[in-house]
Subunit: 131 residues, 2 copies
DNA sequence: ACTTTATAATTGTATATACAAATAAAATGC
DNA sequence: GCATTTTATTTGTATATACAATTATAAAGT
């Protein structure tokens, strides 16, 4: 179980990286940017929740995207909002294409239904391990 | 898919860590040591193969176990052999218990059959992603 | 209103893993 | 039998993520 779960995660990661090479973003960065584009002003805590990553990790990801001038951060009191920059908005279509390519590439390898089922099962398992 | 696979891997990792706290080893170290105990003199390349990790990662894991005096390495020509140390042999029963506890803990959460099926499916998927 | 507690985000540091380059030895081709 | 290629391992460096501690602010209790 331990190895299988990890090996799969690493292989999926690799596949995603390949699909995303056109936008020069790691999978996590790409999904984070996607969320910011879909929900401008979203807070880090919300991102952490959706992406299932620790807040500190989110901070680091945002920093990287800020360096690349793809997002901007504004802080007001204890809350921070993350917005897409013009450059970030610009690459949205390309990004969407890449993410879709990632989907089709694993779906073609595993089959649409089978991959959907696997995702569902893994999710169920992850949920149960929550507690 | 991307997040689910990663989230699951991280949660499994955590669960394994908890089970292994009694032997103070990370899951990877524990499984590597287990393999060395079962096959004394095993080569890094074989370990890399079985544990599905890069050779460089195996080297790093062995280094750590050597520091802890749990294994020893001998090099002859271009091949290296890894053997358990007396201390390594000593903790074998405890290690076995911990790994079994890890198994029972996820099996109890997910059900025996369901977890077996998931492992199988993830493995199949990982294999297909090989190429 | 002031103290206490809870929440949001960040920073410092650590771990796991990988890739690419370096070494070194063995195997192969001619 | 030497030159070339392949194989095994290690080293240097980079990335992703986490945990624990810190900071800063807001909320709640009295």
């Amino acid at each position: 179980m331990y190895f299988t779960a990890n090996a799969l995660a690493r292989k999926i990661e690799k596949l995603a990286q390949q699909s995303l090479s056109a936008v020069d973003l790691s999978p996590s960065h790409a999904y984070l940017l996607m969320m910011v584009l879909q929900e401008p002003g979203v807070q880090p805590s919300v991102l952490a929740d959706h992406l299932q990553l620790q807040p500190s990790t989110i901070t680091r990801l945002i920093e990287k995207l800020e360096e690349k001038k793809l997002v901007v951060r504004t802080t007001e009191g204890k809350t921070t909002n993350v917005y897409p920059s013009p450059k970030g908005k610009e690459i949205q279509p390309k990004l969407k294409d890449c993410l879709h390519e990632f989907y089709t590439s694993y779906a073609s390898i595993l089959g649409k239904e089978e991959s959907a089922r696997l995702v569902q099962n893994m999710g169920k398992m992850a949920d149960k391990l929550e507690a």
